[in-house]
């Protein structure tokens, strides 16, 4: 029987949806699922993973895992993967997994592909699809000449199964010793409570058409109404209206929400590259010739400053 190893991400013991996606995919492929959960709540996350088909779960609830540390995570992942003996390794893309897994791949002399949007498991073979050139095209990822294959998947790509009953075997994993050349001295949490752009189901983005930084407030109000995250074009990041962490595009974040609302954004090729796989796109722009309308599902020609507050009011009515 084929075997798949999944690194589980959770917040306080509740599995993140990206992890549920991977569990569902491996379970549907009848692969025996091994997994790893770390940090406070890991045991609860392991129990939950059992209801998605995980059979063997390595767990370490140590407080050292409360902050990300590259050396500690790399060594811990390597130790769990070695004990599991799995050759197919999956995780969902995040700041932590993108930092750690490439190094794990180098340690094991393994094939590595990140940011994939489709995953096919078939016995011991795995293929994936990966957007290239910021989504201007995509290609199938094939692994050759290597024993261990590691795939990081973009969140929100795979349907999640309904949980069923299932009790996994939980194994305690020891904290490996590390050289501690990297120490995490502090984590400065942002004051935003909204989901990260790359995970958000709805994104509302603003560009230079919003005229000034204060008008981003109109987007925040809309975001709070519909549970969205606020994004931006590079022009307004460069103008200093909003931080770079909010930039969508080829040199910013790649987003793939179900709904993307672009207000006062012209739709330059570099911006489109970061959002064109959004399912539904709404464009609000005063210029009927703006390229963003070519990528939009719905378009309104008009003044974003007038339209945004009224649209927020409509959303409020709709969701009341």
């Amino acid at each position: 029987m084929s075997q798949t190893f999944i690194f589980l991400e959770h917040s306080n013991g509740k599995l993140k949806s990206g992890s549920k996606e991977l569990l569902s995919c491996a379970n549907n492929a009848n692969s025996e699922i091994h997994a790893l959960a770390l940090g406070s709540g890991a045991r609860n996350a392991a129990e939950e993973a059992g209801t998605f088909g995980a059979k063997v779960i390595f767990v370490n609830e140590g407080s050292e895992y409360s902050k990300y540390n590259s050396e500690l995570f790399v060594e811990t992942l390597a130790s769990a993967i070695e004990q599991s003996g799995s050759k197919i390794i999956l995780a969902s893309s995040s700041s932590a997994t993108r930092d750690a897994f490439p190094r794990v791949a180098a340690k094991f002399n393994a094939g590595f592909a990140s940011d994939c949007t489709e995953l096919n498991l078939n016995g011991d073979t795995v293929t994936a699809r990966k957007p290239l050139y910021s989504g201007k095209c995509s290609a199938q990822v094939n692994f050759k000449n290597c024993d261990i294959k590691i795939v990081l998947m973009r969140p929100n790509q795979i349907p999640i199964n309904d949980p069923s009953s299932g009790t996994p075997e939980v194994k305690d994993l020891q904290t490996p010793s590390i050289e501690a050349k990297v120490t995490t001295t502090e984590v400065k949490a942002s004051d935003s409570t909204r989901p990260d752009l790359t995970e958000a189901g709805i994104v509302v983005s603003g560009g230079r058409g919003l005229q000034n930084a204060d008008n981003f407030q109109l987007l925040s109000e809309m975001a709070d109404t519909i549970g969205a995250t606020v994004g931006a074009s590079r022009a307004v990041v460069d103008a200093g209206w909003v931080p770079h962490s909010m930039q969508v595009g080829q040199t910013g974040k790649t987003v793939a929400p179900t709904l993307y609302i672009a207000a006062g954004i012209s739709g330059a090729i570099q911006h489109l590259a970061g959002m064109s796989s959004s399912r539904v796109v709404v464009a609000i722009n005063k210029d009927p010739e703006a390229p963003i309308f070519k990528k939009a599902t719905y378009g309104i020609v008009g003044d974003a400053l007038e339209i945004l507050p009224k649209l927020t009011e409509e959303f409020k009515k709709l969701l009341a």
């Binding site: 094939g111 990966k130 095209c137 539904v280 709709l318």
Partner: protein
């Protein structure tokens, strides 16, 4: 004191991607230095300004015939030396990292290696960490701020949702830059003229002993599906917003 910068050459962000055979049509493409690598070059030059004994060497793995342009750009910005590692087009991240590590080992012990956090063509963000592994030194990625001491660096690492991790990293280390770290300079005209005359050291994957059979291979290239044409919503603003909200809920079912 050796400071290295690893750069990749990628299609200009303006490039339209067309497919040809089993890959992309490279004929109309303008190749440029990966935008995040510009921050890495600038950071090395800023480091050298404060540490005049530093020798900054830029490396690029890829087909020599074109990568030489990006190496010259880095020379024009002010780096001291350039190394071209001639390699086939389809090398994967692991082999690229391996080639870089061997080239660095051949050249001299690293004090710091700067890279960009990701290459915008394959979006792997893997080479920096893998290079660090082969050099057996620590890495820190997505770095937007640095403060140096003799044997360590304090860095800000940008993570999800606008949060930051503050790290202390012992040197030598690989530091992968993101936007915000600095403002990359433009090459000056005299810089460009001087860069034309500077020698570029040429190495090959063969002489570095790199296995070039990739572990990761791309096939079945596809362009994104065409979107159906946009539905424009006409009328007075009040009607437009009401109509849009209704369409989002009832037709698109996204609210």
């Amino acid at each position: 004191m050796n400071v290295y910068v690893c750069i990749k050459q990628v299609p200009d962000t303006e490039s339209k991607i067309k497919l040809s055979g089993n890959g992309i049509d490279t004929s109309g493409i303008k190749w440029v230095m990966n935008p995040y690598d510009e921050f890495a070059v600038e950071e090395a030059l800023l480091f050298k300004k404060d540490n005049p004994s530093a020798v900054v060497t830029v490396l690029c793995v890829g087909p020599k015939s074109r990568t030489v342009d990006s190496l010259r750009t880095a020379l024009a910005m002010g780096v001291d030396n350039a190394i071209s590692v001639d390699a086939p087009e389809n090398l994967d991240s692991l082999q690229t990292a391996h080639a870089l590590s061997e080239a660095i080992k051949k050249t001299g012990d690293a004090h710091i290696v700067f890279t960009g956090k990701v290459a915008i063509d394959d979006n792997q963000s893997a080479v920096s960490q893998q290079l660090a592994n082969f050099l057996e030194i620590p890495h820190a990625t997505v770095i937007s701020k640095t403060a140096y001491t003799a044997d360590s660096i304090a860095v800000d690492r940008e993570v999800e949702g606008g949060s930051k991790e503050i790290l202390n990293v012992k040197l030598p280390a690989v530091i992968a830059a993101t936007k915000g770290l600095n403002n990359p300079r433009y090459a000056s005209l005299p810089g460009i003229m001087k860069a034309k005359k500077k020698p570029i050291t040429e190495l090959t994957t063969t002489e570095l002993g790199i296995n070039t059979d990739p572990y990761v291979e791309f096939t079945d290239f596809q362009l994104p599906p065409e979107r159906p044409s946009v539905k424009m919503i006409e009328g007075e603003v009040d009607t437009q917003v009401a109509e849009l909200a209704k369409l989002l809920r009832e037709e698109a079912k996204v609210l």
